[in-house]
Symmetry: D2
């Protein structure tokens, strides 16, 4: 029930505040004898790191990860893996503005009401900085899943502007500053985001994450459903307000005939589907098709435009966020979403084989 842990067998516990000396996590339950060094984790952190483009916060930190335990001679040992990142950019600044004020859309007020105390510097525990450890842990989860599973994410909507799915190119995702799979959309978004920043405003976004090569059978009835835990995982990311699997909310507008994923047999005794409205999950259990999920990120709450707010003493004030901030936090949420997907799948892979060690790793029929 730990508030800051995630997963059941492959389990991650994160700690740390934005402006404390460090942030970190403990990855417990990892299988032994997986090759793992900092070099396996760092690229994912670099990908999430602020300060890379004009469109994410200007905080400059190397986010250099260290493995403090759980590996020996470059291999996991089965004991807990502690990951550690120093906070190097805790620049001395004046927090007078937010020390006693509750910014709209932030956790300031709720932390105050719940705990009666909060580390206001940089948002403390509620800072998006915590997601760095999700990304680090996700890199370990990818090792558990193995090379057969491909995990990718992309920004599919910025503000109200969606990508053209017909133009989808995964290679494009790595070529622009938005993780955008559609070059035309990327070009439009650049203008859009510069305008938002200039005006002190911010934009929301929708991210899609996809896992290919996932074996069937992951997930479990009734409260251990793969989609249920994936929903929690994605909704737990800062600023996320919606999650959908496969067709998602659009499924409500389809007829039963349209929504049915018809099945045929493939040449090697495998089930093939004519479509993937289900997003790779039926009855809470993976089918072997790609797992597809999307989540919506609200526009950054830190904006230059003044908003009505209150302070700790019950006084009415105006709040205006100065200084560095992302005009769209959704961009950085792409690697975070991928990491959460990896964590959920790694955990379910272990849970599945605990109960069903002889289950097939492809949707092969007949089973025996």
């Amino acid at each position: 029930m730990s508030h800051n842990s995630f997963g059941h067998l492959f389990r991650v516990t994160t700690w740390g505040e934005s402006h404390g000396p460090a942030i970190g996590c403990v990855v417990d339950g990892c299988p032994p004898r997986l090759p793992l060094t900092e070099a396996d984790i760092q690229p994912f952190l670099d990908r999430r790191r602020p300060g890379q483009s004009r469109f994410v916060t200007q905080r400059q930190e190397p986010d250099q990860v260290r493995i403090l335990s759980g590996t020996f001679e470059g291999m996991t040992t089965g004991t807990p893996i502690a990951l550690h990142i120093e906070n190097t950019d805790q620049r001395s600044r004046d927090y007078g503005e937010i020390k006693d004020r509750f910014r709209p859309g932030h956790a300031d007020l709720t932390y105050e009401l719940k705990y009666g105390i909060r580390d206001y510097r940089g948002g403390g525990r509620s800072s998006a900085r915590e997601t760095a450890m999700r990304v680090a842990a996700g890199a370990v989860a990818r090792k558990v899943l193995g090379a057969g599973v491909t995990l990718r994410g992309a920004l599919v909507q910025l503000g109200a502007d969606r990508v053209d799915r017909a133009a989808w190119d995964w290679a494009e995702v790595e070529r622009n500053e938005f993780f955008c799979p559609d070059p035309a959309a990327a070009a439009r978004w650049e203008e859009r985001l510069l305008a938002a920043r200039k005006s002190g405003s911010s934009l929301g976004a929708v991210i899609e994450v996809v896992a290919e090569g996932v074996p069937p059978g992951l997930g479990a009835p009734i409260y251990g459903k793969l989609d249920a835990e994936l929903a929690a995982a994605l909704m737990s990311i800062n600023a996320v307000k919606g999650v959908e699997i496969g067709e998602g909310f659009a499924a409500a507008s389809l007829s039963g005939e349209e929504n049915a994923d018809e099945m045929r047999m493939g040449p090697q005794g495998e089930v093939r589907f004519g479509s993937n409205h289900a997003g790779g999950i039926l009855g809470g259990i993976s089918t072997g098709q790609p797992i597809v999920a999307r989540f919506a990120v609200k526009p950054t709450s830190s904006i230059l435009t003044p908003r009505a707010a209150v302070d700790r003493f019950g006084q009415e004030v105006e709040v205006q966020t100065k200084g560095r901030h992302d005009p769209c936090v959704g961009i950085r949420a792409v690697p975070v979403g991928e990491a959460m997907l990896a964590l959920v799948l790694a955990d379910h892979l272990l849970r599945h084989r605990a109960q069903n060690p002889d289950a097939p790793d492809r949707a092969r029929l007949p089973r025996n």
Copy 2:
């Protein structure tokens, strides 16, 4: 990590198959000395029960709940509450059609791949019948929350047809067969659903659930966020493909200024919000505003139109569902969604007061 349990302190474990002798659940961790008899639970079950209207499955069962433990002289004792419903309508029928076939959109295939065995009668464990126990447990959760918390749900979209929010009337919800808050929409839906049934098709839906009077402070960073666990709770309901909180996916299209819920002070030192885009949750913690969530239910997979499928032996077949079925399973999901909301809130209420026994029960400022 139990697959069939939900919650951490207020914890529900359900069991049972559609065509076994009974279904049931165990509610553990309930506070003592709450008045509780079958009469507190039965009305919620009656509300969910199939066979009430022309638009839900014709299965006729009284769904009579019995309390087998955990109460004494009409009061909870703090020990586990076992709830039990006999399955009385396990009509003898021919399952030849589905015994070996995997119906599109059903859990047939995934159970087979995962477990290598399944109780195919009525869908077995994956039957919507399991949700009766959620509703029963939810009735107990309401007792924990107390009379100060109001929990309600409504169908806000049937197929692609949405209610008019300007016409919203909670009283209307109890007056039609759709839990629809807009009488004009209810009238349209009646026609729409009759047409779908006649043509052997089915429709999806979107449900909204709202909790008013929830104290601030429920939820916790980072993986125990109230919205994250609510997302899992709602996504775990059969046929749900999407979940959103407050503004949800629409938040992606708002600017930061539009999305900000501005704050002012109320006459009794309480924070008042000018809007509720956040759906009552900031940083994973309740603000004291109404908790608002929506979830999308896909169209019923059981349809008369034949669909391509495969069987257990790897043969390609056609599947067509005969017999009773709901043309829209989303209707019955309304009381289920309310119950899941109640379960999440009751669990978090207990977790919150364990850590923060002196937290205020309203968003009062200054706190001390």
Copy 3:
């Protein structure tokens, strides 16, 4: 964190009071396709059942178990298994004596202080009757462990009188009313126990449980140690006051040389140990040697001799237990201890193979 659940992957939740309509449990996480019918469970319940001998309580109940879910055509399906026993001997009686009084050594007082309410009839939830469900669940756990694992228990001490270990004969355990492996001790105990009953007194006992054929590798550092969870499992049985593994408390009096279990290689590349002071567990992980545990049961608290006590109103009273009671509850604890051992091992078997699917099932060297 459920108070009434045990285990992590193979998980049991029990419910029910002594004088309610029924008791039951839910066994979740059981692997599929294990043959299981009531006939696999009933013999273990019969073995634990009161009313079999002169030395256990005269309560006469068939304790007939029913499987209500989780199996199909005589096989487990991987979904939760609900087990159910009707309470048939809730004889109407006068509870005036204990309704308001707190019997020394019973949970009467602590339930009252904790919950402010209690079902006093027959001890309610704290009745030893709950252990019937442990035994039932243990029978399922034995199926998970398979025929290669032998689980047995014996009474090794009654009052201060211990068995002669040189005379140990497992076959003897089934031949007397005490689960005693030493016929001479059994003869002495008969007299001893008749005398205790005649005088309205009671006796304590020590039980030893042994599991042979357990694969190495079960358990995990640091808080998932096999011996730590076994200690909790045995200590959770009513009236247990001490638990030890292998040499146990006697290890404190040995020198390091005496306590060392020396190792040699067996003919098939297996490690052989010259002794088993460790009780089959090193560093919290099974070695492949027999797992050996013992637990001490206090003398039955219900005695005829009057004892000073208090009542619910703060009045000083005398309490004397009339009616049926076991002069030694330790006897019936033998099958319960075996069941708890089975539950711990089954859970750890699943946990182990989740993380280490390629670990050897015997202590074979070199490993690869």
Copy 4:
């Protein structure tokens, strides 16, 4: 189910190996606004630290703890508290002796069989060094319990030599190198231990831990019993082979009359007990009397006398431990046992008030 986490609401996760760069833990679920700085934790670590006396290992490390998160301006914030200790004494040495050999009584063999890999340096994860983090976390738990709860421990038996309980003096515990409450025993033990060390042998021990001022009501039926979780907590300490509560194994030899803790009313409406055979726990729930537990520690496995063993390649070898080692690891187990008691109680305090916020904090009758 995390292998390296302990507790449910007040939850500790430890990580680190003996010869890695650091060890640490995360304390999650701590209530906010408790004063906490390193100065509150360090004294407990100093008390456990090796190198203080002639009788514990000569490893010289300051064990300087740092708080990396979860506090702000000297107060807990309710977010996870990360504690961190650098390993400064990882002296470069030749591990050729133990690299491939399995020392009797150590976890070498079982880690190898389970994981197929192990960090052999200083015992890796199975090193007693891990217990430093338990002690650190225990210091935080003491803050949760508050000044009203007194937690103390003492060595009550060294080898076969027990203290004289009539001579018990808590003040004496801090005056000798053995945490011994009986000065005469301390004098005998000094000789005994010097002799054991000189001969390259080792001794076992029994430790008693006592908590006074614990409110009634902590614990819960059936698997969340206070004594069951305390048994797991103590058994999880390295080298522990037995645990007992109150009268413990000796209870087996008492009659029901002797074992009954009779009750009378105290002057302020509180229950007073004539004795404490129960060790402060009835039915798994605290009575308000002192909680008393004992645990047995086996003699140190690392001894100079050569013992028969095997190596990783299946060869028979002799093992002899050279270099620094404690002749009795039981001594250092005293502060560790106290810490585990503190952790169990803090967790149960939170769990209790979650369910029973209005329960009395003393054994007061009548309750209302």
